[in-house]
């Protein structure tokens, strides 16, 4: 390539203004030799074994060697850093032999003073008339500026990665602090819970808990704060402590939700109102099972999966979104959890998950929905707390990208015992 350009420059164009042009060309590139030696890039010719046969002044200047120190004595790979040499031997040279040319490879040269010089290397093989390879021609561009830029980009990216990791750790920690680390052991009751985190960058607003009120009585709740992020997490924290404290003071589920409604109205008035949906319940030991007093505020109804294989929604009708109005209306319902029965609470992420994948938003009614959940529960019953939660966690995983909201599950189950009489009230 360079010799061809040299020849073109050496043959002045005849015709009008020819003398001027010749002068101009002479000024530009007076000889191919000068262009070769002082080109703005390094030129290097090596034998097939890598031995340096020819090298231009530019490259000698960059490296700080004289021609006599290199030609016939050193190979191209001698000029590379250890890492570069390894890459050259294992990738560059074999690829060059196979393809006849290799372009734009970033390597590092080591100068006579021991400094590293980042370069971009392009090599081609020169073939003889017999189509046999004769020698390797290499051009070398100084890539110091480019390398510095790349390193700056890399550093910025590593910094961003570290920041993201920090944020995700913080979010995970915060999320854990809003959920019980483990559910308490309740004699004669099996419980299980699951939390699907939709985003690793944002704290979700779903919550649940199971906690003792006396030897024979436990409180539990599950709910969902409208919204996400740090603000929702603060609301979640307030809700948890309010529900637990209110239940100690007066364990009537309707009163507990009314108290939460009042607290949320007081805390979040004005421009930043906050709401949540929740089901709150009190478990009271009752012979071989439990009596459950439930109240709901704007929350999807829980499911009772019975020992006989039936399953039904347990509605708490007319319960309002909590924090919306003062005073609000909540209603209670009482159910019995007999041996073999399982009560399942869930948040709306489950029924609002897209069943056709998040990308297919064209279908109008592609949400999982309560009818599908009802059918799923009927197929599952009778079940246990662990089995129910495991089956639903599998279902949630199956939604893949269709599930873009946090989802909490809580299941309570009375195991069938061989001698239920021993589990009677004291």
């Amino acid at each position: 390539m360079m010799s061809a350009r040299g020849q073109e420059a050496g043959s002045p164009t005849p015709g009008e203004g020819g003398g001027e042009r010749a002068l101009f060309s002479a000024l530009l590139e007076d000889s191919a030799e000068d262009l070769y030696e002082n080109a703005p890039c390094g030129y290097l010719s090596t034998l097939l074994d890598g031995q340096i046969a020819k090298i231009n002044n530019t490259l000698l200047g960059w490296l700080g060697y004289t021609r006599d120190e290199l030609v016939g004595l050193r190979t191209f790979s001698d000029l590379l850093t250890v890492g570069g040499r390894l890459y050259h031997e294992t990738h560059f040279a074999p690829l060059l032999m196979m393809q006849g040319e290799v372009g734009g490879v970033a390597l590092e040269l080591r100068t006579a003073a021991g400094e590293r010089l980042p370069v971009l290397v392009t090599s081609t093989i020169k073939y003889g008339a017999d189509r046999q390879p004769q020698l390797i021609r290499t051009t070398i561009f100084d890539a110091s500026d480019r390398r510095a830029y790349e390193q700056e980009l890399l550093r910025a990216r590593q910094e961003a990665d570290r920041e993201r990791d920090r944020l995700q750790r913080l979010v995970a920690t915060l999320q854990h602090s809003l959920l019980p680390s483990s559910l308490p052991e309740v004699d004669g009751l099996q419980s299980a819970a699951y939390y699907h985190i939709a985003s690793r960058d944002e704290v979700g607003g779903d919550f649940y808990d199971l906690f003792p009120l006396s030897r024979e009585r436990w409180g539990f709740f599950l709910g969902d704060v409208c919204g996400k992020g740090a603000a929702a997490a603060a609301v979640t924290s307030l809700i948890r402590y309010t529900l637990r404290a209110a239940a100690v003071y007066d364990p009537d589920p309707v009163t507990v939700l009314e108290t939460l409604n009042t607290v949320m109205q007081h805390e979040y008035r004005g421009d930043d109102p906050r709401y949540c949906t929740a089901i709150f319940g009190i478990l009271t030991r009752d012979g071989d099972g439990f009596t459950i007093d439930l109240a709901g505020g704007g929350h999807p109804p829980c499911l009772l999966l019975r020992a006989d294989g039936t399953a039904d929604f347990q509605h708490t009708p007319n319960g309002m979104l909590i924090g919306m109005l003062s005073p609000a209306v909540f209603t209670a319902t009482t159910i019995r959890l007999a041996p073999g029965d399982t009560l399942l609470l869930y948040t709306d992420g489950l029924i609002e998950a897209r069943t056709t994948g998040a990308l297919n938003a064209e279908v109008d009614d592609d949400r999982y929905g309560d009818e599908a959940l009802h059918a799923f529960a009927r197929a599952l019953a009778p079940t246990t707390a662990q089995q129910a939660v495991a089956a639903l966690a599998d279902l949630l995983r199956g939604f893949g990208a269709g599930l873009d909201d946090d989802t909490a599950l809580l299941a309570l189950h009375v195991p069938v015992t061989e001698r239920p009489a021993e589990r009677g009230a004291p």
């Binding site: 919204g227 109102p273 906050r274 709401y275 007319n318 309002m320 919306m324 009614d365």
Partner: protein, 118 residues
């Protein structure tokens, strides 16, 4: 995600905001931003046309309550129009159907609206 489109117009003396698409935790902030730009006055009812609403989650409900509070602050009313079947269940579940009046058409809502909220 289906984006939510918001269009504002007036019908008779009523201010009508039309919501087309999905109202969820991704799109609810758009409604809250839009509300800030809407000036309501007494006796000019505020109407949300939900005919083209395809989904509404709890964040969406919160945005609708914000619209109601915006109307109350201007001493006018908020009415919902053409509540789709797919979201009416959520409205019932949260009690929203008990605090907001719903009408089949914008015209019916405009005729009825503007009175003091019950």
């Amino acid at each position: 995600m289906t984006p939510l489109a918001l269009t504002l117009h007036t019908v008779e003396h009523a201010v009508v905001l039309r919501l087309s698409g999905e109202l969820d935790h991704h799109t609810a902030p758009l409604v809250l931003e839009k509300l800030k730009t809407i000036t309501l006055v007494r006796d000019r009812p505020f109407i949300l046309d939900l005919d083209q609403l395809t989904f509404c989650d709890s964040s969406g409900i919160a945005a609708l309550i914000a619209a109601r509070n915006h109307a109350i602050a201007a001493t006018t009313t908020l009415a919902l129009v053409a509540v789709p079947h797919v979201v009416s269940r959520t409205f019932r579940l949260t009690g929203l159907d008990r605090i907001l009046d719903a009408y089949p058409t914008v015209e019916a809502a405009a005729q009825a609206g503007g009175s003091v909220p019950s």
